[in-house]
Symmetry: C2
Subunit: 130 residues, 2 copies
């Protein structure tokens, strides 16, 4: 059976995803926030007090990945964590004022990224991703 990479769903999906993520990365660059960090922030803007475990489930990432993203967000001063008084294994994640303020700044940039990339996402296989 023949298999043509160029026509495969996985290949097209992967390339499109890479381009969209990269596009978003550049739009968020001024605030030093990556697409993944932005996704985590989105969850926090929806529901503030939450555990890393819950965040992992909501973002479909594993716990180590989330923990590392949270460390970076904490270092940048966008979130804080406290031990959950009802379960000392677990943490509770809170937004800082700066983290809360980011929503108004980043959302327009993310929407701009979306609009700019309408059309031309999948076409043109040899275009650079950069």
């Amino acid at each position: 059976m023949t298999f043509k990479l160029d026509n495969s769903l996985g290949y097209l999906l992967n390339r499109t995803n890479t381009r969209m993520k990269n596009n978003l990365l550049h739009h968020l660059r001024d605030y030093d926030v990556t697409p993944e960090q932005w996704a985590v922030l989105n969850r926090l803007w929806e529901k503030e007090v939450i555990s890393p475990k819950e965040l992992a489930e909501l973002t479909s990432k594993d716990l180590p990945t989330i923990v590392r993203i949270l460390s970076k967000l904490e270092k940048k001063g966008f979130i804080t964590r406290k031990i959950n008084p009802e379960d000392s294994r677990a943490y509770l994640i809170f937004l800082t004022i700066e983290g809360r303020e980011l929503q108004g700044k980043l959302t327009p940039l993310a929407l701009e990224a979306l609009i700019k990339q309408q059309g031309g996402l999948i076409k043109n296989k040899s275009r650079s991703l950069r």
Copy 2:
């Protein structure tokens, strides 16, 4: 303006892509080949003698990424490289016999991965990726 992550194209695309890649990773595990290495091998199965630069364009990855993938494929004995006699900056990539034999082994596994994941790719936001 409201923005709901769960409904956004980028989010759904990213999650679907991650799942498909992971699924493929598991199907190819027996041969110690990652989805990205598999993509590069596919290009070589289509067109044998090729430069890293060309491979980078064909796979929509940048040169450093391709170079590192090629190093791994070389270490595993699936490819070799020779300096291009017409341009001593450039390399030519060749498949080894083992690398050529992989096509018959990996393609059925990749197709199996594709078939197994039809349905259920996007639904169910909280399912683990593992």
